[in-house]
């Protein structure tokens, strides 16, 4: 089962909190090819922005490592933009609308994110990284 990762999963894999262990478990499963998770160019850009801003502390190199893990990235295409504009998702900001549309256009129905804003988006199931049962179903451990 393929799923889409939001930028916060990558950020939280590098900073101490209750999210760190489950987010690292996801990345390990991806590295070992036990599961198939994708990110997009837009998610990569967010990680790079946050890393460069210094606001999330010392996470230098996270964007480059994320690229290594997830290349080839899903593209943000004209079709994705059209789908994002048409989404009925009042709780989602513009970036997250692009992420949801990228998943949908690529036939991916699950978005792993700490952001509850993805709930209620038609065709998308949001999985919180702290949801052990759902997560283990996704990564097969």
């Amino acid at each position: 089962m393929s799923f889409f990762l939001d930028a916060n999963v990558l950020i939280y894999s590098a900073v101490d909190s209750e999210y760190r262990v489950p987010c690292l478990e996801i990345l390990e499963a991806v590295a070992e090819r036990r599961t198939e998770a994708r990110i997009s160019t837009a998610v990569f850009e967010e990680v790079w922005h946050i890393e460069s801003s210094g606001r999330a502390g010392r996470i230098g190199g996270l964007a480059a490592r994320s690229y290594t893990l997830f290349t080839p990235l899903l593209p943000v295409t004209d079709e994705v933009v059209a789908r994002a504009l048409a989404l009925d998702a009042p709780r989602l900001g513009t970036n997250d609308r692009i992420h949801a549309a990228t998943a949908l256009v690529n036939g991916i129905a699950t978005v792993v994110s700490a952001d509850a804003g993805f709930e209620g988006v038609s065709g998308i199931r949001r999985v919180d990284p702290r949801d052990e049962r759902a997560l283990h179903h996704l990564i097969g451990s």
């Binding site: 916060n8 590098a14 090819r33 606001r55």
Partner: protein, 90 residues
């Protein structure tokens, strides 16, 4: 996760090299072929991916920001870029 089956023909020498490489790495011939595909056609090798996760796991000094704060960081960065562009254009 592998769901696609691909049947290919290789020469005896290619097979010998694949088996030798798999033995050297202590892995399967299939894993050697998958890594070769990733290395040649985009994507990182398993060694590169595992190293990337190990590097992330070793990171210290990060600061937790809740999801909405992370969104604001990205928005502020973009606003700054737009303002800089406007100033440059006069």
């Amino acid at each position: 996760m592998f769901g696609e089956r691909l049947q290919i023909l290789v020469s005896r020498d290619q097979r010998r090299r694949l088996v030798a490489e798999a033995k050297r790495r202590r892995t399967s011939v299939g894993a050697v072929i998958r890594d070769a595909i990733d290395a040649r056609l985009g994507g990182a090798t398993s060694e590169q991916r595992l190293r990337a996760v190990a590097d992330i796991r070793a990171m210290r000094g990060g600061r937790f920001l809740p999801p909405d704060a992370l969104d604001r960081v990205v928005e502020e960065e973009r606003d700054q870029a737009i303002q800089t562009d406007h100033r440059r254009r006069g």
